[in-house]
């Protein structure tokens, strides 16, 4: 399977892009210790000719934001956290959902009306909105003192767990429905109106 993936040019483009971003991010931390260059003003002959935010042409590679920090370097530093968290959340989410979904699809599929009905409410709940409502008190700092209520590791763990677990009901119901339908079709092949297709393309997409 890995060999076949090598021959897919589209897969290799995306994979190499993300992989080099993560590797570059880690290397930058090891070599340059996350050095963040700043350029608040642009001088020419001793005179200020422009101030931040500067365009990508004035301050390569990607310009600066309004406090003068280089945007490209900020993204390089942050890439390992964002991509790492995405991977971690996806693994937790898909692992738990496959476990629960397989259990439901193999042993409790006869209760599918109730299970589908009860997971339905989460289907119509905007995932982002629920996450924002739950995580805002945890992640935000005090308005006046700018002190966080929780330590940074507590905040990270809470973020990972909430983002991973909120999707579990919907995804496990999906996985279980597919498994249940396939195993039922295998048990009596005459009734096969549905077909078990590869749905990993949809439900594996982190939001």
């Amino acid at each position: 399977m890995v060999k076949r993936l090598y021959r897919q040019p589209l897969f290799m483009i995306g994979f190499l892009f993300l992989f080099s971003l993560v590797i570059g991010s880690v290397l930058y931390r090891l070599i340059a210790h996350n050095y963040l260059p700043t350029k608040l003003f642009l001088y020419k002959g001793g005179h200020v000719i422009a101030h931040s935010p500067l365009s990508p042409l004035q301050a390569p590679p990607l310009g600066t934001e309004n406090r003068g920090y280089s945007l490209g370097i900020m993204m390089l530093i942050g890439a390992k956290y964002t991509l790492g968290l995405t991977l971690l959340i996806t693994f937790i989410r898909m692992g738990l959902s496959s476990l629960f979904g397989t259990l439901y699809g193999l042993y409790f599929y006869r209760y599918r009306r109730s299970v589908n009905g009860l997971s339905e409410g989460f289907h119509y709940a905007p995932f982002t909105l629920l996450a924002v409502v739950i995580l805002t008190p945890v992640l935000s700092s005090d308005k006046f003192t700018e002190v966080f209520r929780y330590t940074s590791s507590e905040r990270e763990i809470a973020e990972i767990l909430v983002l991973a677990l909120l999707a579990v009901p919907v995804v496990s119901a999906q996985v279980g429905n597919i498994i249940g339908e396939i195993s039922r079709r295998a048990a009596n092949p005459i009734h096969s109106p549905m077909s078990g297709r590869d749905l990993s393309v949809i439900i594996g997409k982190p939001i």
Binding site: G14, G117, G121, L129
Partner: protein
């Protein structure tokens, strides 16, 4: 009688699950889980929902205002954008699918590469890139293609609908391609081809009908994803829609009412569609 009772019992279950989902903010007290407070909130919410006219939300300057009918303006605005984006993405995917199967090989590769590209870019990128494009065009030429944010006088439609429909269109396209390739390998389409029917005819008349069931089953997942994107989109375009209304005063009652308002039309639509499919193709859909 059962064709009314069955959907109704299903709807009751959906309402219960929405109560459970809507009370989730009460479960999290910071990082600690508080199950007694969660159960309390569910009981309290149930009582509140019995008197919907007494529900209030926090308006400008901290004034308490009744939720009904104030929630309907943002609700209908969001739903218009949402349904339009849903339909647009479905139609775009359908057209792309027919093009993929009927075009010559060279053009087909270009098309599939474009779809791959738009699928791998995050939708926030699309929204911001389109906004920047419209602004740059306006600065250079003075031609305002479309509005990029909601203002006091006018609601915006074109750009949000476009942005919201990009990702679902890719997913619809994938589902359709997977199913069509599966159907093309089945006996009936091989028989049809061996009898000399053209591919176009087989696709339009025989396969298209069988596509509906997988699409209907999977469109629930697509709706789930689109709703999350709707939140981001309303934030980026400054749209005062349903999700920003909920976000402004996120109490369990308002959250649950929002979920009910979003979910019920889709439930009715899916129930109707599954009846129609049952009637026309004789196949049962579990939704």
């Amino acid at each position: 009688m059962s064709f009314i009772l069955k959907p109704f019992s299903k709807w009751i279950m959906i309402v219960i699950s929405m109560l459970l989902a809507g009370c989730l903010p009460a479960l999290f007290q910071g990082t600690a889980l508080n199950f007694p407070a969660y159960l309390n909130a569910i009981g309290h919410l149930f009582l509140q929902l019995l008197h919907p006219q007494r529900l209030t939300y926090q308006g400008y300057g901290g004034i308490r205002l009744p939720v009904f009918p104030d929630i309907f303006t943002p609700y209908f605005y969001s739903m218009k954008i949402f349904f339009a984006a849903f339909l647009l993405s479905f139609l775009a995917a359908l057209i792309a699918m027919f093009l993929t199967l009927l075009l010559p090989r060279r053009l087909r590769q270009i098309l599939s590469f474009m779809i791959f590209l738009s699928e791998s870019l995050p939708d926030i990128f699309f929204m911001v890139a389109l906004q920047v494009l419209v602004i740059t065009l306006f600065q250079r030429t003075g031609f305002l293609m479309m509005n990029i944010a909601e203002d006091y006088h006018s609601q915006i439609y074109a750009l949000p609908i476009l942005c919201l429909s990009v990702l679902p269109a890719c997913f619809f396209y994938r589902i359709m391609m997977l199913t069509v390739n599966e159907e093309l390998r089945k006996d009936y389409s091989e028989l049809a081809r061996s009898k000399g029917l053209t591919l176009r005819r087989i696709l339009l008349i025989h396969i298209f009908r069988n596509l509906l069931i997988p699409i209907l089953t999977d469109s629930k997942t697509i709706i789930w994803m689109m709703l999350s994107n709707l939140v981001v989109m309303e934030f980026l375009f400054g749209i005062h829609g349903l999700t920003s209304f909920i976000d402004a005063s996120p109490t369990p009652a308002i959250l649950t009412i929002g979920l009910l308002l979003i979910g019920t039309p889709f439930f009715l639509l899916f129930t109707l569609l599954s009846f129609l499919i049952d009637h026309f193709t004789g196949q049962r859909v579990v939704i």
